[in-house]
Symmetry: C2
DNA sequence: CATAGTGTTCGATCCTTGTCGTACAGTTAT
DNA sequence: ATAACTGTACGACAAGGATCGAACACTATG
């Protein structure tokens, strides 16, 4: 029988439909977070652990950014051993905010 | 002969095509500014002076928000007597950031 | 001219948030 | 068990920006 680890149990995900536009825009208005999203958009789901992103910030800051993205309904996270894998919630987010991801992530700065 | 007033001469407008995505997102991420844009979107061009908006901030703050919107290429302003009239730069902005205005302004919060 | 109206500019203040170091928890490997 | 690795939590700090009052410039009106 497979049991969730205590660490994974603390991972709460929000329904993108419940996310206020303000929260979504605040999340998307940071360049480091957009960089994370673009990276996710160009790879298969669940193939990128938090530590595999090439970011211009320390790991404590990176961890903060992943938490912001998760609480804005932009990414989903899943623990796999010591790693935390990520997935862009493209479809769900697009349903709540049509065109927003496309206008901000599928695009150069 | 019609001469621009000294006040109008100081009004500089940017080309939305030259606006960085970061600047556009920063401008759109404020609720007071989105309120201004929605108001403009629902009225004819050049019919709304700065003072005619019902905003929850004092006039000094409102003036700041209009300046931010202008420097982000989101609005155009023109002086008419003592009033400063506004216009949403819908088409130009859409050309540079397709879908962004639609996703943030043509929508409730 | 004097007064009222419209909007900007300038400091000052306050609050948010991005950033980091450190400590900690859980996992994997030796 | 010990060590290395992955990621989070917490406290502190600094920078940016939203806010306001007051002073100012320009315009319109009496």
């Amino acid at each position: 029988m497979v049991v969730e680890s205590a660490r994974a149990r603390t991972l709460s995900h929000v329904d993108p439909a419940e996310v206020p536009l303000q929260t979504a825009l605040d999340a998307l208005a940071d360049p480091v977070r957009r960089s994370i999203l673009r990276d996710l958009a160009s790879h298969d789901d669940w193939t990128r652990a938090c530590g595999t992103f090439d970011l211009p910030v320390k790991k404590a800051t990176a961890s903060h950014h992943f938490a912001v993205l998760r609480s804005a309904g932009l990414i989903e996270q899943r623990d796999e051993g010591a790693r935390r894998l990520n997935r862009l919630r493209r479809e769900e987010f697009d349903r709540s905010f049509p065109g927003l991801l496309s206008a901000t992530v599928d695009r150069a700065d």
